[in-house]
Structures are given as structure tokens and as C-alpha cells.
Amino acid sequence: MDQQCIFCGIASGQIPSKKIYEDDKVTIVLDIYPANPAHLLILTKKHYAIFNQVPKEEVEHLALICRRISELLFQVVKPEGINFFIANGPAAGQKAPHMILHAIPRFSGDGLNLEIPENPADEKETEAFYLNLKKTLKNYFPDVDFSETEKAGEEKEQEKVEEAKEEEKKESKKEEGEINLDALTEKLI
């Protein structure tokens, strides 16, 4: 526990709050500055600044907590939806240095906008990013079979190689000032 942290104080009960649940790992309180009525803050009792510092056992506990809170809110508050939300870092909207899992009941026309935009993926950029990422993924998840995606990746690589060859051909032929029928045919078919 961090003596300076307000949310540690709330989680431990040293700072008064509107508590609705407590066990050995978490405390759940009503947010007194809510996005909507019945906005809940799920707080770990131990001080973690961000979600990624939370040990596995507690992450799993948070999963069960969210499941129960979802049931509870739908039953009691009867919202039309719920957002479960964590912000890690100020760039993500984190306001306090204590990991907070928000549960925000939603009602149509409540004026909140937590919509996640959907954009078309930039294929080239995404593929390059993914190929690079896969090396890391294999280290993290050694049991996961990436051969399927690998094949797709290899095919891509193969395509790139062929494209490059074609470019080369074009270049060389340009120099010679001749028309390469093979390359042309390949392109047309």
C-alpha cells in the first residue's frame, strides 16, 4: 500500500467511500464523480500503477469480479449496456497513479462517447507490423502455433521477392530499350 495514494486509502477503508463490495484482493466503490449513475470503481487493494503490474492471480480475480458486476448491474440498475474500462498512462486518460477498472452503466442518449472507431487497416503497414511482431509473440507464447500465419507471411514475402525481380527486369530492359514480352504477358494474365 502506498501511503500517498488516495485510491489505496479508499481500497483499504482509511478514506471513507461508498463501498459496495470488498474481499481480500479488491474493493468496489461508487465513483463520486460518475460518468453515469452507478459508475463503479473496481480497485485492487495492493498498489499497482497500471494493469500490467497486476499479478496473474489478481488479473483472474478481476475477470470474475467483472463477470459478477456485469450480472449485478444488469439485474439491479438495468442499464442498456456496460463499459468495462482501464486507462494505462496519462495518454490513455489515466488520472490517478492507481490502476482502476471502471464499470460504467450505459443508457441510450446518455451523452457519453466511448465508441471505439473502426478504420480500414492499412494493409502494407499492418502486414509489416505483424511480421515484426510475430518474433515477439513466439517468445511470449511458445505453445501457440503460428505456422498458418507464417505461411501467409511467407507467401507475402515470396510475392515481394517476385515483385522485386519484376522491377529489376523492367529496370534492366528499360536500359536496353527493349520490350520484355515475358514481363508484359505476366502482367496481363
Binding site: I20, G81, I82, F84, G111, E118, D122
Partner: protein, 173 residues
């Protein structure tokens, strides 16, 4: 029933897999908010958390945490958002539950912040009273309520505390 997310899992739609085991799978989002936006899902077609078996949900949360770390590094992010949206009103787009992991940077054009609402003190007290979970009712020991699970499967079941779930599900496109 066709589900775009199930098609992703079955390989009918091109997918970039980040993780997979028997029950849980993760991909780069096909329609990302930003580069690196990832989704973690149950393989089984389940719409909301209360339907997801506890062990599967636990794994989803843990995988989401791992992926948040990996993606954070990979895109050189300054933060991450972890989101799980239950219901159309919360922005859920598919009737297939998923955890979103979204890497964040300053001025990335995203904004998930909310204005604070004033809720009168007496309403707060009432809500607190309604939601209070007895402390002896530990989450880990919650009964599974198999009878209600059955009721969930039967379209048109009207009794019990869970008919809200059915109503809720109908709202999902």
C-alpha cells in the same frame, strides 16, 4: 447464424493471430482504431461476460494483459486502453464478446474521456444500498446456478433474474 468474428476465428476472413489456445484467441483488429489495436475473444460464440465460462474469461483477461504489454512495446505507445463493451448502448458491435487492447499516444485522435455527472446524495445512497454485495458472498465461491443457465438457452424464458440477459441479447445486432 453468421458472425463476422466467428468467420475470423474459422479463417474465412484474413486474420492476424496474436494468441490461440483451445478456448481463447486473439487477433489484430480487422478494423482498428489505431495500428496495434488488438482483440481477445472466446472461441465459442458468446455475446456477454455472464455467458462466458469462468475459466475462459480468466484466460481472456490474462491474455489481454500480456498482449497489452507486447503491443505497448511494439508500437512505442505511451499508454493503453483495455475495454470490454457489453451491449449495443456501450458500443458493442458484434454479438461476440471481446476485450479490446488499444495502444495510445498523445494526439492520436482518440478520446475515451467522459464528463462528470452530478448525482444527488440521496440517489447515490440508494444506488449503494441496491448494489451492496454481502461481504461473505465471495466471488470465487459464487454458485454457478445451472438452472438459470438452461433458462438462458431457451428463447422466450421469462422467469428468473436472468430474463434481463435475454432482453439484453436481443438488442445486439
Amino acid at each position: 447464424m453468421s458472425c463476422e468474428i466467428c468467420d475470423l476465428i474459422n479463417g474465412k476472413i484474413k486474420a492476424r493471430k496474436l494468441y490461440e489456445d483451445n478456448e481463447v484467441i486473439a487477433f489484430l483488429a480487422p478494423k482498428p482504431a489505431v495500428l496495434g489495436h488488438s482483440i481477445v475473444l472466446p472461441k465459442q460464440h458468446l455475446a456477454i461476460m455472464p455467458q462466458i465460462p469462468e475459466d475462459v474469461l480468466k484466460k481472456m483477461f490474462f491474455v489481454a494483459q500480456q498482449i497489452a504489454g507486447i503491443i505497448f512495446e511494439a508500437v512505442g505507445a505511451e499508454g493503453t486502453n483495455i475495454m470490454l463493451n457489453e451491449g449495443v448502448a456501450a458500443g458493442q458491435k458484434h454479438a461476440h464478446s471481446m476485450i479490446h487492447v488499444i495502444p495510445r499516444k498523445k494526439n492520436d485522435g482518440l478520446n475515451f474521456e467522459w464528463p462528470q455527472k452530478q448525482v444527488p446524495e440521496d440517489s447515490m445512497a440508494k444506488i449503494q444500498e441496491l448494489l451492496k454485495v454481502p461481504s461473505e458472498m465471495k466471488v470465487e465461491k459464487a454458485p454457478e446456478m445451472p438452472a438459470e443457465k438452461e433458462a438462458l438457452k431457451k428463447e422466450g424464458a421469462k422467469t428468473g433474474a436472468r430474463d434481463y440477459l435475454l432482453r439484453h441479447l436481443r438488442r445486439i445486432p
